[in-house]
C-alpha cells in the first residue's frame, strides 16, 4: 500500500474574526504536492483572508494551519521557507533592479548557486532585457513576472497566488500557465485564487469554493458537479453559480482532504 503523500498545506478548522465579524469560519482543506488547487468565491468570501493566514500575515482566531508540517503560528520561519506568495497587487522595491530583487530573495532563502538560475528564469518569464531596470519603470505585467521570478527562484514546495494573471498579455498568460503546469508536474503545489473561472477550470486539479467565509465545496470539477443538478459537461462557471445560489449546507464531495 503506498504511503500517503505528506500534504504541503493543511488547514484545519481555520477561523478568522475581525471584532464580531467572522471573515472565515471553520475552514478545513489540504493541498497535496504537485497539486493545483483553485480558490474561488465572490468578493468578501474570505479568499484573501485565507491566503494571508496561510502565509502568516494574519493570525488565525481558531484552528491551525501547517505548511509542509510546520505550524505557521508556532514555527513561522520554518513554515515560510516552504512557500512563495504572490499577491494580487505587486509592490516591489521601486529603486531595486530586477536582478537585485533576485539577489535579495537568494540571500533571504539561502538559495545556492542562485546566479546560475537567473538567466534561465528571466528568459522563461521574458525579463532578460529588463534585468537591470529598476522596478518603478516596469509595467504592471512585468511586475507580476518579477514576482513570479522571485517565487520560482527559491523552488518552494508550494506557490500561493492571488489573481496571478492580472495585467499580463496573452503570451504572458500562456507562458505562466505552462510554467505552472511544468512545476506542478515536478512536484510543486499551487494554491491560486482567481475570479477567472475559465483559468481555474483549465488549470486546477481541485477547486475550493468559499462563500461568506465558509467552504461550500471542495473537490475536482466532476465531484463538485454532483452537488448541483446540472448536466455532466457543465462548466465551472455554471457549477459555481448553481452551488453558490443553493441554500443547502456545505457538503464535502469526497473523503479526500
Amino acid at each position: 500500500m503506498p504511503h500517503p503523500q505528506p500534504r504541503v498545506i493543511e488547514v484545519e478548522h481555520f477561523g478568522k474574526n475581525y471584532g464580531h465579524f467572522a471573515a472565515v469560519h471553520d475552514l478545513s482543506f489540504a493541498v497535496q504536492p504537485g497539486e493545483i488547487v483553485g480558490l474561488v468565491g465572490a468578493n468578501g468570501a474570505g479568499k484573501t483572508t485565507t491566503l494571508r493566514a496561510i502565509t502568516g500575515i494574519l493570525r488565525p482566531t481558531a484552528g491551525s494551519i501547517r505548511v509542509s508540517g510546520h505550524d505557521i503560528e508556532k514555527d513561522p520561519v520554518a513554515g515560510k521557507r516552504q512557500f512563495a506568495y504572490i499577491p494580487d497587487t505587486v509592490h516591489p522595491y521601486d529603486l531595486l533592479t530586477v536582478t537585485e530583487h533576485l539577489h535579495f530573495i537568494a540571500l533571504a532563502y539561502r538559495v545556492e548557486n542562485a546566479e546560475r538560475q537567473y538567466t534561465a528564469l528571466l528568459e522563461e518569464l521574458e525579463l532578460s532585457d529588463k534585468k537591470d531596470e529598476i522596478a518603478s519603470s516596469l509595467s504592471r505585467g512585468m511586475l507580476q513576472k518579477l514576482s513570479l521570478a522571485c517565487a520560482f527562484l527559491r523552488a518552494p514546495r508550494v506557490v500561493i497566488l492571488d489573481e496571478p494573471l492580472t495585467g499580463l498579455d496573452p503570451r504572458g498568460i500562456r507562458n505562466i500557465k505552462q510554467s505552472i503546469r511544468r512545476r506542478a508536474t515536478a512536484g510543486t503545489a499551487f494554491l491560486l485564487s482567481s475570479h477567472l473561472l475559465l483559468l481555474v477550470e483549465a488549470l486546477c486539479d481541485r477547486v475550493l469554493i468559499l462563500q461568506r467565509g465558509r467552504k461550500i465545496a471542495f473537490g475536482s470539477l466532476e465531484e463538485i458537479r454532483q452537488l448541483a443538478p446540472l448536466h455532466t459537461d457543465a462548466s465551472l462557471e455554471d457549477v459555481f453559480f448553481a452551488v453558490t445560489e443553493k441554500t443547502a449546507d456545505p457538503v464535502e464531495p469526497s473523503n479526500r482532504s
Binding site: R52, G56, V77, Y85, A108, I134, C150
Partner: protein
Amino acid sequence: MNRALLYLWFVLLKRRGLHGIRGLRRPTSLIGFAAWVFFLCVLFHYRDEAVFAQLVRRESLIGGAMIMLGGSLFMGFLQRGLVFEPPDVEFLFTSPFTQRQIVVYRLLPNYLYALVQGLVFLALFASHLKHPLLTAVCMMLFQVACFHLATGAAIFGGTISEQAHVRVRWMMLGVYFVMAALYLRVAWDLKVVPSFMSSPLTQLFFYPAATLSDIGTEPVLREWMLRRTNTGAFPARALWESASYLGVFAGSAVASFWLLLKLRANIFETSLATTTRKAERRVRLQQGRSLAVANESRFRSARLPKGSLFHGVGAIVWKHLIVASRSKRELVLAGAFTLIYTGFLAALRGLLHHLMSAGGELPAPQVADFDRGLLAMLCFLAFFMQRTFPFDFRRDGHHLVGFRTLPISPFALALAEITVPTAFCLAFQAFGVLALMIFGGFDGRVLLYLLFGFPAVALALNGVWNLHYLLAATKRAGGKPGSASPVEVLMVAVLSFLIFYPAGWVGLQIGRYTFGSYSEPLAFGGWLLIQYSVDFLLVLMLAKLVQRFEVSRDSQ
C-alpha cells in the same frame, strides 16, 4: 541581523541617495536643497553666538529630552502598529525572517538618523559644551532609546482595543501636560496654569463636586516656594563621572532595545493595517484628494434646493456647501485657529483698554491706528484660513474632465469653485471683527473699508492658491504626477503676498500725491479698484486653465 536584510537596506540606501542626487536636476529640488544647505551654513557660521549656548543649557537639554521622550512615546502609540513600505509587507512578512529581525531592519534608518543628528549637534554646539563628544554620544544614544520606545509604543498601541487606546491617549496627554507645567515652573519659573485655578471660585467648573458656599468667598493663595535648579554650563567632571554618564545612556539604549525585543505582540497584523492606511493616504495625496476620510458613511441626503440661486453653476456652490457641512474636522480646526488668532488680537486690544482705563493716556488717532493695525492683522487671517477650507479645486481636481462636459462657462466655474472657501474665510473673519469690537471702536469709514477690503483680500488669496491646486490637478489629468514639492508650495506662498503689490503700490502713490481728508478714501478706492481687477484676472486665469488643460489617454 539577517544578511539578506542588511543587503536590502544598504542597496536601498544607496539607491535612494543616488535617486535624491539625480533629483537635484529639477530646479525646484535644487532650490530646496540649496536653501537647506544655506541654512545649515548660516547656523554653522554663527555657531559661536550666545544663543547657541542657551540652547545647550541644562534646562534646555532637559526640556528637549522631555519633548523627545514624550513625543516618541505619544507618536509611536498613536501610530497603532509599525509602518512599513508596501514592498516590505510583500517581501518581508512572508519571508523566513523572525519578527525581531524585521523590527531591527525597521530601526536601521533610525539609527542612521541618530548618528547624523549627533554629528550635526557636535558640529554646531561643540564650542559651548564642556565635554562635546560625550554629550553628542549621549544624545545619540538617548535618541536611539527614544526610537526604541516609539517602536515599542507603536507595537503595543496596535494590540489594544480602540476604547483602551483612546483612554491611554488622553491619559498620556494629561500626564504630559502636568510634566510640562511642572518643568516650566521648576526650570523657568513660568506658570502655565493661572493662579486663580486653585481658588475656591473654580469649584464652579467642577459642580456638583463643589462646596457652594466657598464659591462666593475670596480665594486665599499662598505661593509654593519654588526651588530653582542651578543654571549655567556643565560643571567640571572627573573621568569616572563621564564614564558613568556614558554607561547610563548606553544602558538605557540597550535596556530599551532588550525590552523592545521582548515584546511578544504579533507585529504583522497590526502593521499591515497601519501600512495600508498610510499607503492609502499617500495615494490620496498623490491624487490630490483630501486626506481626511469621512468616519461616517451614512448621512441624511440634503434636499433639492428650491431657489434658482443654486441652479446652473450654483450647483457647484451647493455641492461644496454640502461637503462643508460634513467636514466637521475642517470647520472645528478653523474655529479653533480663529479663536486662538482673534483671541490674541482681542487680548491685545483688551490690554490697551485696561491700561487706558487705569489712567494711561494715548491720543485718539493713535488708538485708531492701533485698531486699524489689529484689523490688518485680522485680514491676514485669510491666508491661513484658505488652507483650512478644501472646498475648491483641491476636492474637485480629479473631476476636471467631467466638469468640461457641464454646460457652464469656465469663468463661472472658476468663480463658483472659489466662492465657498472665500465665504468661509470672510465668515470667520467676521467673528474676529466682532471680537475686536468688544474693546475696539471702529467708525463707519473703517467698517466700510472692512466691507469692501476683506472680500478683495480673501478672493485674491483663494484665487492664487486655487491656481496652484488647479495646476497640480491638470498635471494629474495629463498623466503626470501632480504632487507639489515644498519649494513649489513656498513659491505659491510668496506669490500670495506679491499679489497685493500692484494694488498696494497704487494706493500708496495716490496717498502720497493727494492731501486733505479725501486722501485716505481715495487711496483706499484706488487700492480696491486695482485689487479687484487683479482678482478678476486671477479668476480669468483659472478659467483659461480649466478650458485648456490636456487630458491624458489613460486618465479616468
